[in-house]
Symmetry: C2
Subunit: 129 residues, 2 copies
DNA sequence: GGTCGATTTGACAATGATTCCCATCCGCGT
DNA sequence: ACGCGGATGGGAATCATTGTCAAATCGACC
């Protein structure tokens, strides 16, 4: 049977923040944003809810080069990200050719159960000035 | 002027381990391997030397999904990896098309100073049995 | 081989993100 | 309104990695 998560104030608050965010943000950034909104939520709870959302594939998660996990509400379906290093602004991109290439090269070497990670990082036009 | 690193026993030992390794390994795994070889090296020193090697582009580094940094002695030049989840066996792969696609899509959106990460994970033929 | 200064080492403390723990709270079906 | 099991929170714990700094040691020069 499917577990039905409870509709708590905290869960709603985290979801609301993600709705408003442009790009990726860390759990701690989201925690701060919540506090500044007056909708204070415990840090543990922010982590838990973000992870739950990520597990449910309702948000995307990726790790930046500092090792932090960043979260963002994305469109459904498989896609990748073009992320601004400075402000986090994100563009979702698709690359059917890349998908085929990755699967093909893995199969050629006898690998099965294939997955891949692909992220593009850069500095967006505004941040580059 | 170029800094000339000193040729210490510890640096040699770390380099030797990397020579012998098939796939990627974490700093702590390498530290253990060194200990078992009898060439004991302080953990801090292992970290320092691995980072130095990575900075000098003599080894590749990537983060696994547990957040650990893994190191491997690779061929020179830009390439990506097809890594077995079970045993770490790694195949270096190149995808010129992917490189062009990534740069192109980033430029289209006005991003500059572009970099990307791309790793393929799977289960190798042996491990799949 | 011996001297000496600059690097490197290593044991330990410190950091920082994330997870664990657990007493308390509260959404929700009855 | 009641009661229960999931949810919360805040402080401790974890864990990879980095910082500290006195002691060890390269390696250049005599
Ligand atoms: Zn930007
Ligand atoms: Zn893809
Ligand atoms: Zn394998
Ligand atoms: Zn590439």
């Amino acid at each position: 049977m499917v577990v039905t998560p409870r509709n708590t104030r905290q869960r709603r608050a985290v979801a609301a923040i993600l709705e408003d965010l442009e790009g990726f943000a860390s759990a701690q950034e989201i925690h701060d944003l919540l506090r500044h909104r007056g909708e204070s939520v415990g840090l543990s709870t922010v982590y838990r809810n973000l992870q739950a959302l990520a597990d449910a594939a309702e948000v995307d998660a990726l790790r930046n080069d500092e090792g932090e996990t960043l979260y963002r509400q994305c469109s459904t379906g498989h896609h990748h990200h073009l992320v601004c290093r400075a402000c986090g602004r994100t563009v979702e991109v698709e690359g059917p050719t890349v998908e085929r290439w990755a699967d093909g090269v893995a199969a050629q070497h006898g690998y099965v159960d294939i997955a891949h990670t692909l992220e593009i990082f850069g500095t967006c036009g505004d941040c580059a000035r």
